[in-house]
């Protein structure tokens, strides 16, 4: 009885218990809440497709193929020598979003152009992948929605789009296998 009275009147011991318990409770609450929030983050099936491997062996020179990456179209074009020449020769002052051809490809693999096929204006998918598609004034890609023209390096040259077609992170696993993402 006497011990209890002592303890009750001693503020430090009482407060220590309350503070400790509250702290432990807060840690528990945070640990319990985190899964409820994290479950909205991309799940394992989505993350599994965050990185894809594209096999380039079947793509002939002058041919374009569309892959799917993170739900978006990826334009991969096996450029001809002429297309590469033309792309390299364009002076930077002529471009709306200046970027050299070298900045948009990987050294040693310049014939491969890998881009996200979404117009940087308002998100339509530009034409130019198929041989009979309109290619626009610069022989690259043309977006029919509002008339953006992209050149043979996927750079915006005419029209309302502000930026060049986005180049995703990618690397070559071999000469014919590229890992995107």
């Amino acid at each position: 009885m006497t011990l209890a009275t002592n303890v009750k009147n001693d503020p430090t011991r009482r407060d220590f218990l309350y503070v400790t318990t509250a702290a432990v409770g807060a840690v528990g609450a945070a640990a319990a809440v985190w899964p409820l929030i994290d479950q909205m983050n991309p799940d394992a099936t989505v993350k599994a497709l965050a990185v894809i491997e594209a096999d380039l062996s079947a793509i002939e020179v002058g041919q374009s193929v569309t892959f799917k990456w993170r739900g978006q179209p990826i334009f991969i074009r096996h450029r001809t020598a002429a297309e590469i020449e033309t792309a390299k020769a364009v002076p930077l002052e002529d471009m709306i979003d200046p970027q050299t051809d070298a900045e948009r490809v990987i050294a040693g693999h310049e014939q491969w152009l890998v881009m996200v096929g979404i117009c940087t204006h308002l998100g339509c998918v530009p034409l130019g992948q198929k041989p009979d598609d309109l290619k626009g004034d610069f022989n690259g890609w043309f977006c029919p929605c509002h008339g953006s023209h992209y050149d043979s390096a996927g750079r915006i040259r005419k029209g309302p789009a502000p930026k060049n077609l986005l180049v995703p992170p990618y690397e070559f696993m071999s000469d014919t296998l590229v890992k995107i993402g």
Partner: protein, 430 residues
């Protein structure tokens, strides 16, 4: 609703808010200052536990609904997708499934507390009836929820229980097809069951609010059954009962966590991991454990009575077993509330508890032989307890003398304890 609040806001922002929407005043009055009997024991903590479990179920349920697909082609796979691919999905799904069982475990303790201590008696009749309504809604919600994984038990349980409605004469079959949205349980059924399963818990929450309101008019009961007479009988809800309830909630989470993390499937049925197949009926169709007593009573009626066939009879008995709870305050007219002071009542009450557990066991057995006989006996005692035993006891029982007040009963208890200590030869306390 008497005002017990001593809330006096000094902060001008608080005052401004209090004059327009007295939320803080209301919370203080009902969740903090509310005078609660000093002597309520641990049987009284289940109410808070139930409120927390309801919140857990709603939160985990809403999250599951972000990933679940209520279509018969995808339902089973979407649940497995949650378990395998969604971040922490295994744990969230496990919590929701086990949570339903924990919900019923707590509610049965809560209800048996009410039956023992006479919590249903005047002036708490509406409180009790609201509780029975919550129980009914819980049963409906859990039944609907169990269908959603679309396993064999989901499908066949839904088939059996919806078939119950076809027992109603004349309008039975049209009602059955109306409920199912077809001739058999199929995609329309699953889709609407999902919608209703999402809806019902919010109705439960609303009825819970009414339940607490109805409680706060007379205030809590207590183990003596003697009403609060003065401030000496009560203490404020906070911090005494907030902290006591929080302690019990943490303890309650321990078996909850045990099941979720180490035995998540043990309360369920292996057959529900087999995709629903309308052409193959499982050997034993069993509902979840918490519905078993009522399932036993449903099957106990296997004979016709006059123009009521066995199927209809079973349905009447099953629904009757819950509806009879609603009229309990008028069946048990004994002036003494608490079983502690009713020596004749006690053995019948404990027999009722055992009987309920026996019916639970029987609900999972095959409907043959001794099990059928015992189910009939059990059903008879269940109804007999309410319709015969309690009314008769009210008339013939001589209760033990009640204490004059709660505080007096507390003093008596402590004096008795002290006397016992001296008797045993312990050291003096002072």
């Amino acid at each position: 609703m008497s005002s017990h609040s001593n809330y006096n806001p000094t902060n001008p922002v608080e005052k401004w808010f209090d004059e327009r929407l007295p939320l803080i005043r209301f919370s203080k009055e009902h969740l903090m200052d509310f005078p609660t009997p000093k002597n309520i024991n641990y049987w009284w903590t289940m109410g808070a536990v139930l409120a927390i479990v309801l919140v857990v179920q709603i939160v985990t349920g809403i999250i599951l609904a972000m990933h679940y697909v209520p279509n018969i082609e995808m339902a089973f796979d979407s649940v497995e997708h949650i378990r395998r691919n969604v971040n922490y999905g295994r744990i969230i799904q496990g919590t929701h499934a086990v949570g339903a069982s924990m919900f019923f475990f707590a509610v049965y303790i809560h209800m048996f507390r009410g039956l023992y201590y006479g919590s249903y008696k005047a002036p708490r009749e509406i409180l009790w009836i609201l509780g029975v309504i919550i129980f009914l809604l819980m049963m409906a919600t859990s039944f609907l929820g169990y269908t959603l994984p679309w396993g064999q038990m989901s499908y066949w349980g839904a088939t059996v229980i919806t078939n119950v409605f076809s027992a109603i004469p004349l309008v039975g079959t049209p009602i059955l097809e109306f409920l199912r949205g077809g001739f058999v349980v199929d995609n329309p059924t699953l889709n609407r069951f999902f919608s209703l399963h999402y809806l019902l818990p919010f109705i439960i929450a609303a009825v819970v609010a009414l339940h607490i309101w109805a409680l706060h008019v007379p205030g809590n009961g207590n183990p003596t059954g003697v009403e609060v007479k003065s401030n000496a009988d009560t203490i404020p809800f906070h911090p005494y009962y907030t902290m006591k309830d929080l302690f019990v909630i943490v303890v309650f989470f321990i078996p909850f966590a045990w099941f979720v993390f180490f035995a998540p499937d043990i309360l369920g049925h292996a057959d529900n991991y087999i995709r629903a197949n309308p052409f193959v009926t499982p050997a034993h169709i069993v509902p979840e454990w918490y519905l078993l007593p009522f399932y036993a009573m449903l099957r106990a009626v296997d004979f016709d009575v006059l123009f009521i066939n066995a199927k209809l009879g079973g349905v009447i008995v099953m629904f009757g077993s819950i509806l009879i709870l609603m009229v309990l305050p008028w069946l048990d007219k004994s002036k003494t509330r608490s079983g502690n002071y009713r020596p004749m009542f006690k053995p019948f009450f404990w027999l009722f508890v055992l009987n309920f557990l026996m019916l639970m066991y029987l609900g999972a057995q095959v409907a043959e032989g001794i099990y059928v006989i015992l189910s009939k006996v059990g059903t008879a005692y269940y109804f007999g307890y309410f319709l015969i035993v309690l009314p008769i006891l009210a008339r013939i029982e001589t209760p033990k003398p009640l204490p004059n007040s709660i505080s007096e009963s507390i003093l008596d208890k402590h004096e008795a304890k002290a006397a016992k200590k001296i008797q045993i030869g312990g050291e003096g306390n002072e």
